[in-house]
């Protein structure tokens, strides 16, 4: 490891003075540079604060100031500020710059990124969407379902006037009245984890209802409990400082964004979907062009198609029995004139008109000339959904369907179908265009056509469903009571009796991950996952994960491929290998996902910007040259002759903050469309605005950002940066670097490395690696052991791996600092010699230095949970912890570590088959429901025994009660493991390897300063893998060690190799990173210079101790009598089909016989020669005789098969022949 090595290294006094690396950049500056500059706009700053601030040389830095603003109370801790969350900003700026250094916009614009993350955070998408649910969506849902009326008594009503979600409470606090006093619960997320309870907050409604001739109003009535997302606006962690978080036993670095349901942490993964309410044009097989749109409103979800097949265009929809000619539909929608239809659909263009014309013929053939004819025709083809049997007139039916089923998202006012007709015409136009020019067929995989569904949206669907059910149930009960005619009826009791429905529905959906909503026919499984807590990065990686709704089995490559449009939005490296490859994606560092925004102001703005309302336009207006349609969320609403000006004006207003910054606008010249989007789930990211060939983020802006007088939102409101979604991004001209800006440039990238996600961001120099290696590292980085969280020892996870001495990587990246991986690292800086050593290093095996292992390299701890619940039974009995069994005044061997209460003693070593909880279960637990039955009071021992081969130590033992008021006992055991042969290690470049040998330190090679490597890696790992980044990491790491500072391997940037070589030379090393070395075995110098230096190595969770397994004889499965399967059941080692094939091919028949029968499930049977059936004890049951019975050995499974066939009335006879025929 690096630390001991560097200490011994430099003895010359100039370098020996240990300098904190932050001071390095300041060494050669004049002393006054460190002093705070007089600020141009001094804020009222208390003197005390200033005094405290001058202690730190970096007090002008953004972080200190912003923190000071945030937490005035922490004066005394000004110098400990380094430990606060923002110290990455305290570091000298990029390329070792400090506050007073001149600002170079080119180099320093990346400072926007930490500023962005400070405002947005890493998993802000989840939290934003959940907050939106709490603040907006719930209210909307309740508003649309606010009234419950009674069928029995017409004057009865119950209104939900308001809804809110409170702060999290415990279930056993039993608070019923939330209106009287402001109850603050002391519940913490960690308590819920430990107690296996749900971290949830009460959902409170204000109601007004009719009771005995007057209205009664009640405030804050409990209707259920909403599982609370950690760090959301109502979570107790919201706005807490690092100090408070420690008090709550919570890790300040934990990203939040997940739920705690019954003690397990559950994440609702981001779901990828096709966008709703947008037309997409596709070509099916045999040249059928179709435009489809999934209409989605709060009431209904439906899909409509416009299909062009056999040169005819039809409308297709689920409610229609058959496809309807498009002209009939237009007639039904009230567009009578054929001339108008063709103008709307095809415009003046002769080509499109020619394709469209045959449709009129069809309509004429059907003899449909009026709207009534058309409606009759449509109505006749509508599937009967009317449950009450009374079928309405067909025209009525058709009107109803056209108004509220087909294309529901286009609003119809009264019977004005104009908007819908225009929408349909627009769909037809798209089909015609795609028919004429196949390039205009849409790409389903284009990220701009996708929407991401987040926790808030999914929960709002769920809540809406549950709330409707809740209201329905209440109505039922109310009706039932009112039918009985009780005058003094209070509807309140009904509400209180149904509260469990919403709570249990919510927590069941979260804990099973099954989203079953009747309303949208939505049946999704696997929406939630247990948050992986293998390491900090695995938890973080899970929060940014996106799953897609595509089935994994489909052999299409399209959805799996890397899309150019996902640049900067989704990480190109982080995807799993194998079946989910390319379907599971990860968000990039700066991605933001939009929440729903009200389209009404946008529509108003469109009108205000001079676009003409579309309802007044006719076909000629629509497609006249230079006319552009303005779409809002996919629906055409207006017409403009000056699209560019319109777009610029709109953008200007957005930059001014007049509308939400997440609204996007772009021009599609193919369709002559200006599209505005303000719907939810669009993926977007911030970019720097460029105007007139100049970046709007100026030096001044960066300076004030650095000084903390402005934050990211400030830049946003000043129009210096703006969010672009995928569609708008693809309509922009974005320069990567400031030097690339030309007259056409509209935007500038904030920082290139933000195209990577949080997990890929850990890789140093990823731009020098072969791309699949980065993907491999993304998978392995999640398996690396290290620090899990700051509260890792306060949690009892079912399994937890921690490294004993985790280290920050020598070669960091900016992303590492931003995701704070350096605070919870998972790995160690190993000194690696790239050379061959012994034969134990072939095939990626590593040679480990025994001395390093003794000093703690790769040492890890494994914590396991052993939990039990003492259940309660309906007859009042419950499980209990019994006494240990004693013999001769001492506990028996198995109970050696139980105390007198039957619980294991904390700190003791626990070995295989020892009892840790002497649990007892009542013999008679069933309730007879007759009188008062209490059971017999007898108990049966069901001791909990430690099942592992390797002993552990009891780390802690916790007793608590869960929400059902039964006792929960959790024991945590701890094992400390040192690396051994077979343990898996990996560098950060997808280069994994197992330990091949642990070599004595004396036998290892050493350089001229006596430094011995921790790891020897075989050089054959490099040529085929092409992980140049790993070599660069070694060189930069070595330079960093020598210079006493961290180096950066940030993607598309980072420390330059030339500079690293210079540092190496300055310190007396070869610029190439190669050292002269001496063999530890012979004492001879090695005949080659060895590439030698620190590389960050991760210990992966796969360890031999957990996998090592062998068996000679052992348990067998009861049914087949074959050996059991798996290590946990002491199973056998299977000779599988392919191995069997080998033996057959080779002709090793006796070996086959031995493996497949004798060593497995050989079984003696008596077979009757006459009937060929099995008898027993030399007697045939079928033939009722003993002659001709033969003993035979067959596999038991074969015997079982014959008998199973018999049981199914399939006769299977065995025909016998002489074994050795004459």
């Amino acid at each position: 490891m690096v630390r001991p090595a560097t200490r011994s290294r430099r003895q010359n006094p100039a370098d020996a003075a240990p300098l904190p690396h932050t001071d390095h950049s300041r060494e050669d500056e004049p002393p006054e540079a460190a002093k705070p500059k007089p600020k141009p706009n001094p804020k009222p700053n208390p003197n005390a604060k200033r005094k405290a601030a001058t202690v730190t040389p970096t007090d002008n830095d953004l972080a200190v100031r912003s923190r000071r603003r945030r937490k005035d109370s922490r004066l005394a801790t000004a110098h400990t500020a380094r430990n606060d969350g923002f110290d990455s900003l305290l570091e000298p700026f990029y390329h070792g710059k400090s506050m007073t250094d001149p600002i170079d916009t080119e180099r320093d614009k990346w400072n926007l990124l930490p500023a962005f993350l400070k405002v947005k955070g890493l998993v802000k998408q989840h939290i934003d969407s959940f907050n939106y649910l709490l603040e907006v969506e719930l209210k909307q849902i309740v508003k649309t379902n606010r009234t419950i009326l009674s069928d029995v008594r017409p004057n009865f009503y119950l209104h939900f006037t308001d809804i809110c979600v409170g702060k999290p409470t415990r279930l056993d606090e039993n608070i019923t009245d939330f209106s009287r006093y402001d109850w603050t619960s002391t519940v913490t997320p960690n308590e819920c984890r430990l107690r296996d309870s749900t971290y949830a907050a009460p959902i409170l409604v204000d109601i007004a209802y009719w009771r005995a001739n007057r209205e009664v109003r009640r405030k804050k009535m409990l209707i259920g409990r909403m599982p609370m997302m950690l760090r959301s606006s109502n979570c107790v962690l919201n706005g807490k400082s690092e100090m408070d978080m420690a008090g709550l036993h919570e890790c300040p670095l934990d990203p939040g964004g997940y739920f705690i349901v019954n003690g397990t942490e559950k994440v609702i993964l981001v779901q990828e979907q096709m966008s709703k309410n947008r037309v997409i044009v596709e070509v099916e097989k045999n040249n059928v062009v179709q435009a489809s749109v999934t209409s989605f409103t709060h009431e209904r979800k439906s899909k409509s198609y416009v299909i062009l097949k056999n040169d005819r265009i039809y409308l297709k929809h689920n409610v229609l029995n058959e496809e309807i000619p498009i002209c009939v539909v237009f007639k039904a929608l009230g567009i009578h004139a054929d001339a108008e239809v063709i103008k709307l659909c095809a415009g003046e263009d002769q080509v499109y008109q020619d394709i469209f014309t045959p449709n009129f013929e069809e309509c004429a053939k059907l003899g449909i000339f009026s709207q009534v004819d058309a409606l009759d025709y449509v109505g006749y083809r509508i599937k009967i959904i009317n449950r009450y049997g009374q079928r309405r007139m067909q025209a009525q039916e058709a009107l109803e369907a056209l108004a509220s089923v087909i294309l529901v998202h286009v609003p119809v006012q009264g019977l004005n179908f104009r908007a819908k007709a225009l929408y349909l015409a627009f769909m037809v136009k798209r089909v015609l265009m795609a028919r004429h020019d196949p390039r205009l067929i849409d790409n389903r995989d284009y990220v701009g056509n996708k929407r991401l569904e987040l926790a808030g949206q999914l929960l709002s669907l769920l809540f809406e469903d549950l709330f409707k059910k809740f209201c329905h149930d209440i109505k039922m009960t109310i009706d039932k009571v009112l039918k009985r005619g009780s005058e003094e009826f209070d509807a309140l009791t009904c509400i209180q009796s149904h509260t469990n429905h919403i709570s249990s529905g919510m927590s069941r959906a979260l804990s099973t991950g099954n989203w079953d909503l009747k309303r949208f026919r939505m049946k999704r499984a696997g929406v939630t996952h247990v948050l992986s807590r293998l390491s900090y990065i695995s938890a973080l990686g899970m929060m940014t994960r996106i799953t897609s709704q595509f089935e994994k089995t489909r052999k299409v490559s399209g959805p799996r491929a890397l899309q150019p449009s996902q640049f900067g939005m989704l990480c190109p490296s982080d995807t799993p290998e194998g079946e989910a490859c390319g379907l599971v994606k990860n968000l990039a560092l700066m991605t933001h996902i939009t929440v729903d925004d009200d389209p009404i102001p946008v529509q108003r703005l469109v009108a205000a910007l001079g676009a003409q309302d579309i309802s007044a336009a006719n076909g000629k207006d629509l497609y006249i040259k230079g006319a552009y349609l303005v779409f809002v969320n996919g629906t055409p609403i207006a017409l403009t002759r000056h699209p560019k000006r319109f777009l610029n004006d709109f953008r200007k207003l957005r930059r001014l903050g007049r509308i939400s910054e997440f609204n996007s606008i772009f021009i599609n010249h193919h369709y002559h469309a200006v599209s505005i989007a303000c719907d939810e789930g669009r993926i977007c990211r911030p970019l720097i605005v460029v105007e007139k060939g100049k970046s709007r983020v100026t030096k001044t802006a960066l300076r004030s950002l650095r000084a903390g007088t402005i934050d990211f939102d400030g830049l946003l409101s000043r129009g210096m940066v703006e969010y672009l979604d995928v569609n708008e991004e693809n309509d922009s001209n974005i320069a990567m670097y400031e030097s690339d800006i030309n007259a056409a440039t509209t935007h500038l990238e904030i920082e290139p490395f933000t195209i990577l996600g949080a997990v890929a961001g850990l890789i140093p120099y990823p731009h020098h690696n072969q791309s699949p290696r980065n993907t491999y590292q993304c998978a392995m980085g999640k398996q690396a052991m290290g620090a899990v969280a700051n509260n890792q020892f306060l949690r009892i996870d079912s399994i937890m791996y921690t490294l004993v001495y985790p280290q920050k990587p020598m070669v960091k990246t900016r992303a590492i600092e931003l995701v704070k991986y350096d605070k919870l690292p998972a790995g160690q800086n190993a000194i690696v010699a790239v050379m061959s050593y012994s034969g134990y290093d072939i095939e990626d095996a590593l040679v480990l230095n025994k001395g390093s292992v003794d000093r703690g390299f790769g040492r890890c701890q494994v914590f396991r949970k052993w939990a039990t619940t003492l259940r309660k039974y309906p007859n009042g009995m419950e499980d209990r912890v019994g006494d240990r069994i004693e013999e001769n005044n001492a506990p028996i061997r198995k109970h050696a570590l139980l105390d007198e209460h039957g619980l294991a003693m904390v700190g003791e070593k626990i070995s295989s088959n020892e009892v840790y909880i002497m649990k007892q279960v009542p013999l008679n637990a069933s309730s007879t429901a007759i009188g008062s039955d209490y059971g017999s009071g007898e108990y049966r021992d069901t001791p909990m025994t430690y099942r592992l081969e390797d002993p552990s130590y009891v780390d802690k033992l916790m007793i608590t009660v869960n929400e059902a008021d039964s006792r929960v006992i959790k024991m945590q055991t701890r094992q400390t493991r040192r690396p051994e042969v077979g343990d898996k290690f990996s560098s950060r470049h997808g280069q994994k390897g197992v330990v091949g040998i642990v070599a004595e330190q004396v036998d290892m090679p050493f350089n001229d300063e006596g430094i011995v490597p921790d790891i020897i890696m075989n050089p054959h790992g490099f040529p085929s893998r092409m992980t140049v980044g790993k070599m660069l990491e070694l060189v930069a790491g070595k330079a960093g060690v020598l210079a006493g500072e961290f180096q950066y391997g940030t993607a598309f940037g980072g420390s330059k190799v030339e500079d690293m070589g210079d540092i190496l030379i300055k310190n007396g090393f070869s610029y190439s990173g190669k050292d002269f070395m001496t063999s530890g075995i012979t004492g001879e110098s090695l005949p080659a210079y060895i590439f030698f230096g620190p590389i960050y190595y991760q210990k992966l969770k796969h360890m031999v101790q957990d996998k090592m397994h062998s068996r000679a004889r052992g348990p067998r499965a009861t049914l087949t009598r074959q050996p059991t399967e798996g290590r946990s059941r002491d199973g056998g080692l299977r000779l599988g089909e392919m191995e069997r094939d080998c033996l057959i091919a080779y002709g090793a028949s006796q070996l086959l016989l031995e493996r497949l029968m004798l060593s497995s499930d050989a079984h003696q049977v008596d077979i009757c020669e006459t009937c060929g059936l099995m008898g027993y004890q030399g007697y045939c049951q079928t033939c009722k005789k003993t002659e001709g019975m033969t003993k035979m050995t067959i596999p038991y499974a074969a015997k079982l098969l014959i008998q199973e066939l018999l049981s199914m009335n399939v006769m299977a006879r065995l025909k016998l022949e002489d074994e050795f025929p004459a």
Partner: protein, 70 residues
């Protein structure tokens, strides 16, 4: 399922806790919130007497424990 004799309802139905006829053995627990020592009898509710916190940890054993330092 033994229905031979009527068992007096004293045995197992008082406030949902097990009744241990044995002597009042107490163990010391440590509150997960305030670190106070909590003396619990068998059958007591799991709750810190000082702060009402419901997570208790068992105290470390007084016995000597030997580790193998490798």
């Amino acid at each position: 399922m033994s229905r031979e004799a009527y068992v007096a309802p004293t045995s197992a139905f008082n406030t949902g806790t097990t009744v241990d006829p044995g002597p009042g053995l107490t163990t010391q627990y440590i509150c997960g919130d305030c670190n106070q020592k909590v003396l619990l009898k068998q059958g007591d509710g799991i709750r810190c007497k000082e702060c009402g916190h419901r997570i208790l940890y068992k105290e470390r054993t007084k016995r000597m424990v030997q580790f193998e330092a490798r």
